[in-house]
């Protein structure tokens, strides 16, 4: 079928708004796990935005009259050895975890995708060079490299973010490059080679539009991983330092009190686990929705 070349450039098919609405509806109806994931993510975003406003106490308020209190009406998640209200600290931690993950992924996606596109479009020596550098970073297990970098830089949440961004970007470079290579021969890119100027810009824009879904899926899967890695680095003593109510740091602080105050490490961990679960469910569902191999493979018989 020969479609007019413009159809490809002008978003063939239904309008974007309708595509989105229909996409979201079919995504949610595909599995109850997708609904669960989306609900958790929305809840986490809500808590990150309004957590301090709904928290019963100031997360950094020290109350030495109420130390190591077990969960109760006044302190649903109990208190720690300084009388901090654990619920308020867990709520405050949502913002930290989310913001940290967003920063890590923004840095690595922006840098990694850009490099991947350049690599895929330019080819030749530039491609070769970028690929070798990417391989080099991918030769390490991500967490180990991040730990080594953070350890050399010295303990701080800022260094953790930097270290994780450094280990995440090559994955996006590889992903974006693969996509560009498979898209490069498509009509709209070929057209731009012939034309140039404004058309070239349009082609790059459309390249981005085509790469975006895959990147979004990868990001949604990586958010959980970034959160886990951040907290694990905190546990190694490399990340957030007290009194920052980062979830990993909260668990680490509570670790030595686990025999007497089980609630202290338990609730931050639960919050972290559920948050990561939400993002992973969302990412998993999105990948199933986008991966054509898994779509509508019920038939089989004529």
């Amino acid at each position: 079928m020969i479609a007019p070349a413009r159809a490809e450039v002008e978003f063939g098919g239904p309008t974007r708004g309708r595509v989105w609405r229909r996409g979201i509806a079919s995504f949610l109806s595909a599995s109850w796990l997708n609904v669960l994931g989306a609900a958790i993510v929305l809840l986490v975003v809500f808590v990150a935005a309004f957590g301090p406003a709904i928290a019963p106490h100031d997360p950094n308020h020290i109350d030495l009259l109420n130390v190591l209190k077990p969960p109760s009406g006044a302190y649903p998640f109990g208190t720690d050895n300084l009388g901090h209200d654990m619920l308020s600290r867990v709520l405050a931690g949502a913002r930290i975890s989310l913001v940290v993950a967003v920063i890590i992924l923004s840095l690595s996606v922006a840098f990694g995708t850009l490099l991947g596109i350049v690599s895929g479009l330019m080819g030749g020596l530039v491609d070769e060079l970028i690929q070798r550098v990417t391989d080099l970073f991918l030769a390490f297990p991500a967490f180990i490299l991040a730990a080594a970098i953070a350890a050399t830089l010295g303990p701080s949440l800022y260094h953790t973010v930097l270290a994780l961004a450094v280990v995440f970007w090559p994955w996006y470079t590889r992903l974006a490059r693969g996509q560009v290579l498979s898209l490069r021969e498509r009509e709209f890119v070929l057209a731009s080679r012939v034309a140039g100027g404004r058309t070239r810009w349009i082609a790059i824009r459309h390249l981005l539009v085509n790469i975006l879904p895959i990147i979004v899926v990868q990001v949604s899967l990586d958010v959980g991983y970034a959160m886990l890695a951040t907290s694990a680095l905190s546990f190694l003593g490399l990340g957030a330092q007290p009194p920052t109510p980062e979830w990993g740091a909260l668990i680490t602080d509570g670790r030595s009190f686990i025999q007497t105050a089980w609630w202290w490490p338990t609730f931050p961990g639960l919050a972290l686990a559920i948050t990561v679960l939400g993002f992973n469910l969302l990412g998993d569902g999105l990948r199933d929705a986008i991966d054509p191999r898994l779509r509508g493979s019920l038939g089989g018989v004529e």
Binding site: S31, W32, L33, L36, R132, D135, L136, F137, A139, F140, P141, A142, F143, I144, L145, A147, A148, I149, A151, T152, L153, G154, G224, L228, A229, S231, A232, F235, L236, G237, L238, G248, I251, R255, I258, Q259, W262, P265, T266, G269, L272, A273, I274, V276, L277, N280, L281, D284, R293, L294, S297, G300
Partner: protein, 324 residues
């Protein structure tokens, strides 16, 4: 392969010499005096050009010299050789259990596609990937040691049990080979909780991969062909479905290694497991850079080897690649 190994040394060298400002101070440790630092600097040749330093670094590396840990006051390579078997034992069991359970759950999820079994398995798998390993380790300890008293708090063997002769350093293996039943069972008993904490992630990843892979294979004509031959159900699952579904499962072994490597750090720390993870954990806490980077290098090299093994395994499992 050669390039990757070279790259790994380059990165660790870069981390050890260039990034943190004064490597001599780092090597000497945080409490060293200026005189000591100057001494270290000349010993390690840190006043020489970077290229010369790198050459020396590589030469040392080839001779198995990763520097000295100022915590244990021993060569880092000696330390690593001491601690590695415990880590191999722990992660080996975790890989085995996680891989096995992942095959079973992933298979069930695929066969029961769309049923509650499928949804349950997927939720369980993703939960396994989402739980922070160190938190799970703490929780398991709290529940099964402190509350129920079913399993020990940590360590590899009870003090009352005589360790088996040292062959590989992997206690379960040594005990099995030399028929020390009591030591074997005691070692297993100590392994249960850390392995559970470590295997959760591996299990989650495997379940997801196997589910997708089995679904792909079940759509293939040769499965229907096998049914048309009148083969038994289990034979079809084993020879036709699982054989093919194993291919993608093997390719993610590299990822599994990454999960295990990060898990080992924190899980060993929680269970006082005398392995490479604990060693690196303590090294990081004490800012013991030679030890930290030594452990990093060894783990990275093992990762490279794992990926090589994966390629070889793939070659063995897939005749389409073997004969081309």
């Amino acid at each position: 392969m050669v390039f990757v190994v070279w790259g790994v040394t380059l990165v660790t060298f870069f981390l050890s010499r260039v990034v943190p400002g004064d490597p001599a101070r780092l090597l000497a440790g945080p409490k060293a005096s200026p005189v000591e630092i100057a001494h270290i600097r000349s010993i390690y040749g840190l006043d020489e050009p970077l290229l010369v330093q790198y050459e020396k670094y590589v030469v040392d590396l080839v001779h198995g010299d990763l520097g000295q840990s100022f915590v244990t006051r021993r060569a880092v390579t000696t330390d690593i050789a001491t601690f590695l078997p415990a880590t191999l034992e722990l992660s080996g069991w975790a890989l085995l259990i996680g891989f096995g359970l992942g095959l079973v759950f992933g298979g069930f999820a695929a066969y029961g596609r769309g049923t509650p079994i499928d949804g349950g398995s997927r939720l369980f798998a993703i939960a396994g990937l989402s739980v922070p390993a160190f938190w799970l380790a703490l929780l398991l300890q709290l529940l099964f040691h402190t509350r129920l008293g079913w399993f020990p708090l940590g360590g590899r063997l009870s003090a009352s049990v005589a360790p088996p002769p040292h062959l590989t350093g992997i206690i379960t293996l040594d005990a099995l080979v030399t028929l020390h039943v009591r030591a074997f069972l005691d070692a297993l008993w100590h392994l249960v909780l850390p392995v559970a904490a470590l295997a959760a992630g591996v299990f989650g990843l495997m379940t997801r991969i196997v589910r997708t892979a089995v679904l792909d294979v079940l759509g293939e004509d040769f499965v229907r062909g096998a049914e048309a031959k009148g083969l038994g159900r289990w034979r079809i699952i084993r020879r036709h479905v699982m054989r093919n579904a194993m291919l993608p499962a093997v390719t993610v072994l590299g990822l599994e290694f990454g999960l295990l490597a990060s898990g080992v750090f924190v899980v060993e720390a929680v269970f006082q497991w005398p392995g490479l993870g604990s060693y690196a954990f303590q090294a990081i806490q004490a800012s013991d850079y030679a030890a930290t980077l030594g452990a990093t290098l060894v783990i990275a090299l093992m990762y490279v080897i794992t990926n090589l093994v994966v390629d070889l395994a793939y070659l063995y499992l897939d005749p389409r690649i073997r004969y081309t």
